[in-house]
Every structure is written in structure tokens, then in C-alpha cells.
């Protein structure tokens, strides 16, 4: 089976690789690019730990072929912090203790990042629905909701000059 050459931007860096068509995006990120932030959980698109951003949309990378990303821009959790400063969603999960074991956190962060662009000023109910594609087995979700609320507030603060 012939490999396909793909060009893909990951966290702003252009990558050109030949991939087997059956390679899933999650495996491409973890094994070809050594970006192990996105995790492998249920592998059937339920749990959300593999969530990344593709062309401005949250996608579960365990159910997406790398070859389908030819020409796309992908953002993973490794690309969230900027010059050593945590993104507001990362700061929110840290400050509000939005994790215990941390396994679901990369997916939670990437979904929260996109959700807050879709809905910058969400109600608690909207957060619960917006984050409903991500499972956490430790926290009971309460602190995750608080973390997203923290980030929403922080992202709305005027940026210091």
C-alpha cells in the first residue's frame, strides 16, 4: 500500500512526511513527531483525551487519518503556552485544581481553548455542554468547570500594554 506525502503545520511548524494512509493522526503526532501531549484513551471517539485543534475546530485525533490533514494547521497542547507563559486555560486548570491524575488534561485543555473562542462568555450550563465530549474519571468535573470559568474571565481581561 503506497505511502502518501503530506504537508502539515503542527504548532506553527511545517512538517512534510510520507505516511501510510491507515496512520491515525494521534499516532502520527505521538510517534512521528514525538508530540506525546495528546493521549490515547478509548480509541473509539468517546473519551476526548486525544482532542487537538485542526483548522480551528476541536477534533478527536484517534478517529482522523493523518493523510486527511494534508494542508491543515494542527494545534496540540504543546503549542498552547507562549514563550514559557501558560495559556489562560492552563493557568485555570492549575489554579482551580482542574485535574487529579492528569490523563484527561491535554484533551480538556485543547477543548477548553477552542470552546472559549466559540463562546467567550459561557454560562456554567454551556460549559458543561461544551466540554461534554471529554471524560474525566477523577475530579467529578466541578473543578474543571471552575477552571474554564477562570480562563474565560482571564481571557476577557484587557491585555496589558
Amino acid at each position: 500500500m503506497s505511502k502518501k506525502l503530506i504537508t502539515i503545520s503542527v504548532n506553527g511548524k511545517k512538517e512534510e512526511k510520507a505516511v501510510e494512509p491507515r496512520t491515525l493522526l494521534i499516532h502520527f503526532l505521538r510517534e512521528e513527531l514525538n508530540l506525546t501531549g495528546a493521549h490515547i484513551g478509548c480509541e473509539t471517539s468517546h473519551c476526548g483525551v486525544c482532542t487537538v485543534d485542526i483548522d480551528g475546530q476541536s477534533v478527536k485525533s484517534c478517529t482522523h487519518l493523518a493523510v486527511q490533514c494534508d494542508g491543515s494547521e494542527v494545534l496540540t497542547v504543546e503549542g498552547l503556552a507562549h514563550k514559557g507563559v501558560l495559556h489562560a486555560v492552563q493557568e485555570g486548570f492549575y489554579k482551580e485544581h482542574g485535574l487529579q491524575c492528569g490523563f484527561c488534561t491535554p484533551g480538556m485543555l485543547m477543548r477548553a481553548y477552542r470552546f472559549l473562542q466559540e463562546n467567550p462568555n459561557p454560562t456554567e450550563d454551556e460549559i458543561r455542554h461544551g466540554m461534554s465530549g471529554n471524560l474525566c474519571r477523577c475530579t467529578g468535573y466541578q473543578n474543571i468547570i471552575k477552571a474554564v470559568q477562570y480562563a474565560a474571565k482571564k481571557l476577557q481581561e484587557p491585555v496589558a500594554a
Binding site: 500500500m1 503506497s2 478517529t63 487519518l65 493523510v67 486527511q68 461534554s132 465530549g133
Partner: protein, 287 residues
């Protein structure tokens, strides 16, 4: 889990996709959103030698109006149904129902056409399509044909879509002013398929029911069109006794499979409850 090996094709037009289907025959599968097919491939329930990815065909996406008909490209994703101003105004049932399908990430990939063409009785769009009197435009080597949703679903994973055809459009008559609608779906958790679901579209003339469609999700090998239940209401007053007759008629055609969502008795009872809730909610929206 990694899918079995396959050759990948990414046509740019429906014509190219149809030609590839003709050339590759039954060894090829169309890849739409992939959220049913890829998991099935990982589990080796499906092992196509060729995948024809139809995500890069622009003509298959988008929602437009043609006179009194809303035309939905088969590769339009669930989140675009929810956000569509045309659907919100003309077929709001699809916007409300799509919110109950899967989860936000999956709704970015899952398509209305894939949901219909897959023929899974657990999918929601088959019953919705029947309830809204949709028809499907299918393109094959001999051109296009249009088939009604009613009668399209033949059995589990079996539809009238031929192996050499691509589903292109879902065509829906715009709701008349004052149309009531509801989709009631009992599920164990976000992202699960329905334990039982019911789609209703209803119109009134005074206190009488002047139009009604009732269709059921995941309580038989295919989506069910509950025609006897409709007959229990049509041209009659909408009251508790007639609703109960409709519920009984809907229950009578249920043939669910026992699984972790419940046994046959439970699922059948829940189907009846979903019919009742959907009818009452839809009627309350009727003007």
C-alpha cells in the same frame, strides 16, 4: 488500535468519486466523517481495500434554499446543521436534534449524509428524515435519482443506496408556519446512541391534528415510520386518549434488540414514553 491497510483516494468532484466506486467495486468504501467507519475498521468489522475520502468535495457541503425546499449537502457536519440560520428558520427540528447527537468534537466531523447512508438503526437522522418528509439525491454511473426517506431504510446497514452511488443531497420541504416539532431521545450519557428516540412533526387546524409524522430511533433493525400511530391522531382532536392510542400503536411495531441499554420490554416501554413526550412537546409548539 490501527485500521487494516488500505489505499487512499481523495477525489475533488462527485463525478470522480462515482468513477472510483465503479472502478474499485465492492472493495471500496466511502469515507465521510469516519466516526462510524474508522472505529469499525479498527475492530476489523470492516476491512475495505480502498477508502474514497469525500471530504474534499466542496459541492457536497452547505445548506441552501430552492424555493420551498431546503437542500442540505450530504457532507454537511452536525455542528453546521445546528448553526445554520436557514435550518433554524425553516427546519428547526434538525438544529434541535443535532444537539443531541454525539458530542461537540464528533459533531465537527460527523455528517448528515454519513449518518443516513450508514443505515445504523442507532443513528438519529434516519427517523428524523422520515419525520420531515426528506428525500435523498443519489448519484451513480447513470446519473442522479431521488428517493424518499420513507422506504429508504431496508435493514441494519442496508439502504436503497447502491454500492456504486454517492449520496449528494438531503432535500427537505420547509416547515409551514406554525408547525410543531420535537425529537425526544433517551440516552445513558452524552455520546451514546438512543435507548429509544422519537421524532414528531405536527400541524393543527383548530383543535384537530391536520398533519402528523412519527418516526422512531433504535427500537428495530431500522428506523421506523409509525404510520398506525399517525392514523390514531390525524383529523382528530389532540387529547390524552388519542395520544395514548398513538403510543400503543407505536409500541406495537417496536422490535428492539436487547443490549446493555436494556431488555426488550424496557426499550419498548421507553419508546412509548418518547412518543408521548415528543407528541406533547411538538403539539405545544404548534400555532
Amino acid at each position: 488500535m490501527i485500521p487494516p491497510r488500505f489505499e487512499y483516494h481523495a477525489p475533488k468532484t462527485v463525478g470522480e468519486a462515482v468513477a472510483l466506486l465503479g472502478q474499485l467495486g465492492s472493495e471500496a468504501k466511502l469515507l465521510a466523517g469516519g466516526h462510524s467507519l474508522l472505529p469499525m475498521m479498527k475492530l476489523r468489522f470492516a476491512q475495505p481495500e480502498h477508502l474514497i475520502d469525500i471530504n474534499r468535495i466542496p459541492e457536497l457541503k452547505g445548506i441552501r434554499e430552492e424555493g420551498g425546499t431546503v437542500v442540505i449537502g450530504a457532507m454537511t457536519v452536525e455542528n453546521d446543521l445546528i448553526r445554520s440560520p436557514i435550518l433554524q428558520a425553516k427546519v428547526p427540528l434538525l438544529c434541535e436534534a443535532a444537539k443531541l447527537i454525539a458530542d461537540p468534537q464528533v459533531r465537527n466531523r460527523g455528517t448528515i449524509g454519513g449518518d443516513i447512508a450508514h443505515g445504523d438503526p442507532g443513528n438519529d437522522h434516519p427517523a428524523l428524515s422520515i419525520a420531515i418528509d426528506a428525500s435523498f439525491v443519489l448519484e451513480g454511473p447513470n446519473g442522479r435519482r431521488t428517493v424518499a426517506a420513507k422506504g429508504f431504510f431496508l435493514g441494519t446497514y442496508m439502504t436503497q443506496l447502491e454500492e456504486n452511488e454517492v449520496m449528494c443531497e438531503i432535500r427537505v420541504p420547509a416547515f409551514a408556519q406554525g408547525t410543531g416539532y420535537a425529537y425526544e431521545k433517551l440516552k445513558r450519557k452524552t455520546g451514546d446512541w438512543a435507548t429509544a428516540g422519537c421524532a414528531v412533526v405536527i400541524r393543527k387546524d383548530g383543535d384537530q391534528v391536520s398533519h402528523v409524522r412519527i418516526a422512531l430511533t433504535n427500537v428495530a433493525p431500522t428506523a421506523l415510520h409509525a404510520e398506525a400511530a399517525e392514523a390514531a391522531l390525524l383529523n382528530k382532536p389532540f387529547n390524552a386518549a388519542n395520544v395514548q392510542d398513538a403510543v400503543a400503536a407505536a409500541i406495537a411495531i417496536c422490535d428492539p434488540a436487547e443490549d446493555l441499554r436494556g431488555d426488550i420490554e424496557y426499550k419498548t416501554a421507553m419508546a412509548g414514553e418518547m412518543v408521548k413526550r415528543a407528541l406533547n412537546k411538538a403539539w405545544s409548539l404548534c400555532a
